[in-house]
């Protein structure tokens, strides 16, 4: 039976065709994606990595809400110019608590993987509310509503932390119970700033060789 007559069977049986497509298109994923997803070594946190505090988590979820990763990457490539510009290159273990990952695919604005500690909180507040007040050429949108909204105004921080706890983030029940209190009196601006200040923290915490 040659190849064409073999194919004749496929294109005469819709069930066979469906099965054929499913098998052939799965191979790549099974060989290339599945081993990585199942290998715990690729999901393990690096030594200095702390889980996001409730305020930082709230800030991260706002960062996702505003799609900041459309323009800001969080991934320093191991290239000389890039390491000089941003700092140590990114390691797998730094992202163990990132659901979803926020590496981005486009750098309209600068990379933020090492932005934590680079500017003061006051700078971030000013910059988020009016980017052109601190960087005249900036094309970043202003986010005036961040200052007007209370952090966790939907009262969902405990539910969110429980979901992450289910996924294996090391939050204790006490952490979750205490979270709403910690966010009281905070604005979304404080939350986003706290998140930005946490970026690259584990790298700074690690002992330098």
């Amino acid at each position: 039976m040659n190849f064409l007559s073999l194919h004749k069977r496929l294109e005469r049986h819709s069930g066979l065709l469906i099965f054929g497509i499913l098998v052939v298109s799965s191979i790549g994923g099974l060989v290339q994606v599945l081993p990585i997803v199942l290998d715990d070594a690729h999901g393990a946190p690096s030594a200095g990595l702390a889980v996001y505090s409730p305020l930082e988590l709230e800030g991260r979820d706002i960062y996702i809400r505003e799609s900041c990763s459309t323009c800001h990457t969080q991934q320093v490539r191991p290239l000389l110019a890039e390491v000089k510009r941003y700092g140590p290159y990114s390691r797998t273990g730094e992202f163990a608590y990132d659901r979803p990952f926020l590496w981005g695919s486009k750098r309209t604005g600068p990379d933020l993987a090492r932005v934590g500690g680079k500017y003061s909180d006051a700078w971030h507040h000013l910059h988020l509310l009016d980017p052109r007040a601190v960087v005249p050429a900036s094309i970043m949108p202003a986010y005036p509503w961040l200052a007007q909204r209370d952090a966790d105004h939907g009262r969902s921080i405990a539910a969110r932390m429980r979901a992450l706890q289910m996924l294996g983030h090391p939050y204790t029940n006490e952490d979750i119970a205490a979270a709403p209190v910690q966010l009281e009196g905070m604005t979304e601006l404080d939350a986003v700033t706290a998140y930005l200040q946490s970026l690259g923290r584990s790298m700074h915490a690690e002992p330098q060789p």
Binding site: Q32, S67, C71, T92
Partner: protein
């Protein structure tokens, strides 16, 4: 028994509407990069949310509606039967359009799963899964009841679209819901990145490439009144395409914190992918060429043939950008945006426009309202996409070289802000290119609307062919 064509008309109409709205959102975000204050401090108009709206509307509104319309049209005609379960087909229609409307509103309100091209939150993910599986039931049900022995090639591609996109969507959307509008991905960090680009790259592969190749394989031979040039080539190209595409995702993660072997494998498979991609292009071009002597002057064909040229560009540029030594310059720059749009505008949009110029007069049982308008659209589209792509090439190559440039002392030579400021003129040029392209789409919407306004009731019955024997 007549073909069920009202649903084709409904999907086509929505597709045109989403094309105009989605491209409008695109032009608006392009303008925001030039004049950053035109969001007027409104969260819904803010760049990040509006850009998500743009990709959602053009991909899932314009693209998928157009694909379902053409799939329903062609599967009936290549199977010689009426659509299976028309009621379910109408459910697909309402479910899909409602998902786009509400999903679009949710994105502007700030619901976002944070994964590129899969930003809709979990309630919408569920709705999409249900609608998509129903689409598959209608499509494969129609094929199962066909009165021809062989399943025509266009249906293989539509079939691959349905099956693979279902697989990608379900796996990539796996998440633990925390509230109605917020969920967390089942995968984290590097693992999430690999799953996401397995999804993201193959959404491009099986939706924007495979799905639209289904469109090509039906409408091109139909319009040229010429059978496909090589049957054997289409078989080889199809299976090579289905097998190879899946592996290429990690080229989106070159030099990232994922294992080196995954990157290299992704690069090699991306290079191999050029073969099946171009085999299909050759098949298409040769089909038209074989019919060149008897072709009528037809605006629809102009669009389809030019779309093949951009298909050739995009499927060559992709593997080239997957080479690590090229990618090191192009990654994270506007070059990527230019590449996406040479495919999305030059290939997907142009072939869809051409198909609609062919389809709508037939659905309406009348002539196209204005061929002259369609010709103007052709030039607006060509100028728009060229302007867009060249602006992004200029911007991307500049970013690539400036970001990596060192001075004599080995320090970075240019500050990020200076490079960013240098992009402004290109953003302006890209905005103008997008505006031209949008103007063409608006012209088409008007033209098709007028065409449809002059419709006569048409119902077409399948040809009287006895059911083939030995059908399973």
């Amino acid at each position: 028994m007549k073909y069920e064509d009202r649903i084709v008309t409904a999907f086509t109409g929505c597709s045109v509407l989403w094309a105009v709205l989605g491209m409008l959102a695109g032009v608006y975000v392009a303008a925001e990069l030039v004049w950053p204050t035109i969001d007027f401090g409104l969260p819904g108009l803010s760049f990040g949310r509006l850009r998500t709206l743009h990709t959602t509307l053009v991909l899932f509104g314009f693209g998928v509606s157009g694909l379902i319309a053409t799939a329903f049209y062609s599967v009936q005609r290549t199977s010689h039967v009426r659509l299976f379960a028309p009621g379910l087909a109408w459910f697909v229609f309402y479910a899909w359009q409602l998902t786009i409307v509400l999903g679009g509103v949710s994105v502007m309100a700030g619901w976002n799963a944070g994964k590129e091209y899969a930003e809709l939150e979990w309630p919408f993910d569920l709705a999409i899964a249900v609608a998509w599986v129903s689409f598959g039931v209608v499509f494969f049900g129609t094929i199962a009841r066909r009165r021809m022995e062989a399943i025509y090639i266009s249906n293989w591609f539509y079939g691959a679209l349905i099956i693979v996109v279902a697989m990608l969507h379900i796996v990539n959307s796996l998440a633990v819901p925390a509230t109605i509008g917020k969920s967390y991905s089942l995968f984290a960090g590097s693992q999430d990145a690999i799953v996401q680009w397995w999804y993201g790259h193959n959404a491009v592969g099986f939706l924007l490439t495979g799905g639209f190749l289904g469109m090509l394989y039906y409408f091109l031979p139909k319009q040229a009144e010429q059978p496909i040039w090589s049957y054997r080539l289409s078989i080889v190209a199809f299976w090579a395409f289905v097998y190879t595409y899946i592996w290429a995702g990690p080229h989106h993660l070159h030099y990232h914190s994922i294992p080196e072997w995954v990157q290299s494998l992704g690069m090699v498979m991306s290079l191999i992918l050029l073969a099946p991609s171009w085999a299909t292009m050759v098949n298409g071009i040769m089909t038209v060429s074989a019919a060149a002597k008897k072709l009528r002057s037809d605006p629809a064909l102009k669009f389809i043939v030019l779309s093949l040229a951009f298909y050739g560009l995009a499927t060559f540029e992709g593997p080239m950008l997957a080479i690590k030594s090229v990618n090191v310059f192009s990654h994270f720059t506007e070059w990527t945006i230019g590449h996406v749009h040479s495919g999305a505008l030059g290939w997907n949009a142009l072939i869809t426009f051409g198909t609609f110029y062919f389809l709508v007069p037939r659905l309406a049982g009348t002539q196209l309202y204005s061929a002259r308008m369609a010709n103007i659209h052709f030039w607006l589209a060509l100028a728009g996409v060229l302007l867009y792509v060249l602006a992004m090439w200029g911007a991307g190559v500049s970013q690539g070289v400036l970001w990596l440039s060192l001075d004599e002392l080995g320090e970075v030579r240019f500050s990020f802000n200076d490079v960013m400021a240098a992009m402004k003129p290109y953003y302006l040029l890209r905005f103008i290119g997008g505006l031209l392209f949008l103007a063409g789409a608006v012209l088409m919407a008007f033209n098709l609307m007028r065409t449809f306004a002059g419709r006569r009731t048409v119902e077409i019955a399948p040809p009287a062919v006895p059911a083939a024997r030995g059908l399973k």
